[in-house]
Amino acid sequence: MFKIDVDNINGKTESLYVYGEHSILTELEEHNVVINYSCRQGHCGSCVLQLLSGDVIHQDCLVPLSQGEILACRATPITDIKIGVRDY
């Protein structure tokens, strides 16, 4: 199992334990951590998050991402990770 440390996303700071079989978006939804999303397919960029530590597998997407940014709908954890909202 992997640990997802949620760092102040929509007011929530907590640790989730997941099997790494689903996208981070799905895992957050299943644990009632609400984030913005729209297409769920890596096109729109609504679910962008900041990966603060750890590694993810990231599928292709249409959205240009800066260093450390991930799309929750396209990323699956492969280690323990820490995620937060995007730095502007």
Partner: protein
């Protein structure tokens, strides 16, 4: 002033707005003002599918065993989807192509609308498979008041834009006699109609369609009408792309990255847009009542569908930077995401539709700070 299919004016498309600039001439994609539309087109092309590839033969037996109220839900839902795709298969081309000014956006609109025609063809494929007289299902569409009302609400903005932009392209700005009615055509008013039309299309594809998807997938959650659900899953995958297209246009306008006059219009129209979302939501709630008038089905009823409607409306408004209008709630139909997530579209490896397989995803450049081979020694 009159529209030309090949504008002779030489203009730099990098400085043109998305709409109502110089009309397009050379279809060139070597340089793009908004690269996103090119990416959307490439993605849509990589998604190409044909309804005949999906086996719906078991659905005929499933359909025969459905209860009468379930048959009403299934057929009415399908008829609504047929209506929506009939509109979308032609309207983006007719409404947006005459006024578009960027080649990459023109190409996206054509690709988008074409993919909607595949959806329309797939409904015929489904209906042929499940009923003995497909014609009756199609004939009923134009005889059902509830569906005709939906047609009016999804096409009114398109119709208004088409009427006024045709007058503008023929005669320019000024007072014109349109079918005996004196109408003032000015560019600001036209841009306003355009903005509201794009918003109405976004609502159609991002809210109205998703209500119908929920009904289709609810049957398949019970392991019935699964061929239909597989087709709707392909349609939903396309629609997620399309709604990103309209969202992207609206967000470019709102952020002032395109036409500054359009940005002003977006501000002016904010309360009207919120009303549009509310109105669409109310119409869809009434549709939910019609669908479930003879009884609900296992896993879905009018009340849950209405809750989903409010939930998805909030999600879509958030994606456009608008304040959600309904109480924040968890997704009342969490299982729908299994059908909407792209990871779950099953494809044979040799037919893989992952774009990175189709276009070269691996480049040949070694960056100086690329640490992957940092500890590699010859």
């Amino acid at each position: 002033m009159s529209y030309s299919i090949f504008n002779k004016t030489v203009s730099d498309t990098l400085t043109q707005p998305m709409f109502f600039g110089d009309s397009v001439n050379v279809a060139r994609f070597d340089k793009q003002k908004f690269e996103m539309f090119e990416k959307l087109t490439e993605k849509q092309l990589s998604f190409f599918w044909r309804p005949e590839e999906i086996d719906v033969s078991k659905d005929k037996m499933d359909f025969a065993k459905l209860l009468p109220n379930e048959k009403h839900i299934f057929i009415s839902n399908l008829q609504y989807q047929i209506l929506l795709d009939s509109v979308q298969g032609r309207s983006p081309n007719i409404a947006f192509l005459p006024i578009v000014s960027l080649p990459e956006l023109e190409n996206w609109i054509e690709t988008w609308s074409f993919s909607e025609t595949i959806h329309s063809r797939s409904y015929t494929h489904i209906i042929r498979a499940i009923v003995n007289e497909p014609g009756a299902v199609f004939d009923d569409i134009m005889k059902t008041d509830e569906i005709i009302q939906r047609a009016e609400s999804v096409s009114k903005h398109y119709d208004e834009l088409i009427k006024c932009s045709q007058a503008y392209l023929l005669h320019g700005e000024g007072k014109h006699d349109l079918n005996g009615e004196e109408t003032t055509i000015d560019l600001h008013c036209l841009k306003r109609k355009l903005y509201l039309t794009i918003m109405s299309v976004n609502i159609l594809e991002a809210v109205r369609f998703y209500v119908s998807f929920a009904c289709s997938f609810a049957f398949a959650e019970r392991k019935v009408m699964e061929g239909n659900a597989k087709i709707i899953k392909m349609i939903a995958r396309d629609e997620a792309l399309h709604l990103t297209g309209t969202q992207h246009m609206l967000n470019l306008i709102r952020d002032g990255k395109d036409d500054l006059e359009m940005q002003e219009i977006a501000k002016e129209c904010e309360s009207e847009v919120i009303e549009m979302f509310k109105e669409a939501c109310q119409q869809e709630k009434e549709w939910a009542e019609y669908l479930f008038r003879d009884g609900s089905m296992i896993g879905l009823n009018a009340e849950i569908l209405k809750q989903y409607l409010e939930y998805i409306t909030n999600v879509r408004m958030g994606a456009l930077g608008l304040t959600p209008i309904f109480e924040e709630r968890a997704n009342p139909l969490p299982w729908i995401n299994h059908w909407l997530d792209s990871d779950n579209v099953q494809v044979a490896p040799q037919e893989t539709e992952i774009t990175s397989y189709l276009v070269s995803a691996i480049d040949n450049n070694m960056e100086a700070d690329d640490s992957d081979f940092g500890d590699f020694k010859l």
